[in-house]
């Protein structure tokens, strides 16, 4: 039983990890949490849904277009909204992301109503494809793990091995110093929002079959992703991924051994506890500046 619990935790934890990673990428770039992250992912998931059901596209072309849409949505948030604020305080920016969230929520409600729909991915929720003494995995479970792993790997390689990644890290640390080396800080900021939106969109599509598609579908995953990010330390990319997996595990163990009713409170409790005991999260390392 414990084996199954752990495997299920990894599956749901990998979705949390994606949401947390999405939050962390933009947090590192802009120093504010993006509260519209969930709704951006929701919109992108609707795009997948429409492409699959109305346009009859198959899954991979639909995902490709969704990724493009999500990237664009991130650029739009940065370019048309965040960038317009003159000498913004963090609070100004947060309010803008909340405004964008409400806008997207309203838009989705108007376009698709609050009618609940079902998204059909080519991965079955019932077909068990790995089964042994310790655990069983459905096709959807396996696809979730594999896709999440690929996304994490791609993001890791992008940040560690490419010029774009280097520019992103440089801008996170010192915007002026980045500019004086020829980096367009605005462009890097916009791209960061685009990439983060893609990661969130993939989390949305992966979580959609487990939920029903409606404009508020990402509220819970966003809260979980946020808790995971806080747990891992918002600014540590590997930290937030571990945070996501850990949150999945803690939640499942709590639900099984202690109380299924209060399982959903765990994420909130973790946010409070971490902020009380170690506000920088478990994995964020702090640099002491030499004078």
């Amino acid at each position: 039983m414990l084996g199954q619990l752990i495997v299920s935790s990894l599956v749901v934890g990998s979705i949390y990890a994606l949401m947390a990673l999405a939050m962390s990428i933009t947090y590192k770039a802009s120093e504010v949490p993006n509260f519209s992250q969930g709704e951006m992912a929701m919109m992108s998931t609707y795009v997948t849904f429409v492409l699959l059901s109305s346009f009859g596209l198959s899954f991979y072309p639909a995902m490709l277009l969704t990724v493009g849409f999500a990237f664009l949505l991130g650029l739009i948030l940065e370019f048309f909204f965040l960038r317009r604020a003159k000498n913004p305080t963090p609070l100004n920016l947060i309010v803008i992301t909340i405004g964008f969230q409400l806008m997207l929520y309203g838009l989705a409600g108007w376009k698709w109503g609050s009618e609940q729909r079902q998204i059909n991915l080519p991965f079955s929720e019932s077909k068990v494809i790995v089964q042994n003494d310790v655990f069983a995995l459905t096709e959807l479970n396996l696809a979730t793990l594999v896709i999440a792993f690929i996304v994490l790997l791609v993001i890791y390689l992008l940040i560690q091995k490419t010029k774009l990644g280097l520019a992103m890290k440089a801008c996170q640390q010192n915007v002026n110093a980045s500019k004086m080396n020829g980096i367009s800080a605005y462009r890097i900021m916009a791209i960061s929002f685009g990439i983060s939106s893609i990661v969130g969109a993939i989390a949305g599509v992966l979580v959609a079959p487990l939920l029903t598609l409606d404009p508020s579908m990402m509220w819970d995953p966003l809260l979980k992703g946020f808790a995971a990010a806080v747990l891992g330390g918002m600014k540590s990319l590997h930290g937030v991924v571990i945070g996501g997996l850990l949150l999945g595990l803690i939640e499942n163990l709590f639900g099984f051994y202690i109380s299924i009713e209060f399982k959903s409170v765990v994420a909130f409790a973790i946010i409070v506890l971490v902020l009380y005991f170690k506000p920088s999260g478990l994995f964020d390392k702090h640099y002491v500046r030499k004078v």
Partner: protein
């Protein structure tokens, strides 16, 4: 003088409603080392930040031409792309990037892999200690090492004009000497240097030309030799007291002559 590489004309820069530069004009000959001298708060850093476009919506008045092209009002990264590089006050290295990564950020605008590689070697030749620290985070370096890194990072862009803001600040005398030895070698590479310094003695030894700044304007300028011989510069910046200077009144008169 042939066409100056940098020409600043009547520049005024504001911080909010407060004017910090009151009509600054400056010309730099290609291939020269020019020094800007002046005490704390004179406006030296503001001048450099204005030139390289780091102050939003500044300069408020005046023009800046670089290599014959007007650059005031352009974004910093566009100015840098035209061949300017900056060693800022306080070094501003990327603490959580390695020495190698810092240097690669300096080469951000370049695509010639071979050239980048040979320039890295050149930096390690200038500053061998950087090679020993190549995989260390810049935040773990000493102040002197960070200054060497900041200079190398700027040079990695192969600039035509290098702006340096008080590179000797906070360094030991030995390191100051080392940094000041490097600057002529940089010029020997064909790079024009604009050097801001409070250490007027050292700066005028290596500079061809100098400007003295007070309260947001240049009060005197001339060749390095002229400035070294100038009684006022001697007294107020080189720490050599003129024999005739009799404290208050005399000082007041001299100051007034400049203003």
């Amino acid at each position: 003088m042939a066409e100056p590489i940098l020409q600043v004309k009547n520049v005024e820069t504001y911080y909010d409603k407060v004017r910090a530069l009151h009509g600054v004009s400056l010309e730099i000959a290609a291939g020269s080392i020019t020094a800007i001298l002046g005490n704390n708060g004179a406006g030296k850093t503001t001048t450099l930040n204005t030139i390289i476009g780091l102050l939003d919506d500044q300069p408020d008045k005046g023009t800046i031409h670089f290599c014959g092209e007007r650059i005031d009002g352009k974004e910093t990264e566009q100015i840098v792309a035209r061949g300017m590089a900056y060693v800022p006050e306080g070094r501003e290295v990327f603490d959580e990037l390695t020495v190698k990564e810092n240097l690669m950020v300096g080469a951000y605008l370049r695509k010639d892999r071979q050239g980048i590689k040979s320039d890295l070697e050149k930096m390690f030749h200038f500053f061998p200690v950087l090679k020993d620290r190549i995989n260390q985070h810049a935040g773990t370096l000493s102040g002197g090492e960070q200054q060497m890194l900041a200079i190398s990072r700027a040079l990695m862009n192969r600039p035509k004009l290098l702006l340096m803001d008080e590179p000797s600040l906070g360094l030991s005398p030995a390191l100051v000497k080392m940094i000041f030895n490097i600057i002529p070698s940089i010029r020997a590479e064909g790079i024009t240097v604009l050097l801001v310094e409070q250490n007027a003695n050292m700066a005028l030894k290596i500079a061809d030309f100098g400007y003295v700044m007070e309260n947001g304007r240049f009060v005197t300028s001339g060749t390095a030799q002229d400035l070294q011989a100038d009684e006022d510069v001697k007294e107020f910046y080189l720490g050599i007291k003129a024999e005739t200077a009799v404290k208050g009144e005399q000082r007041y008169k001299r100051k007034r002559r400049w203003a």
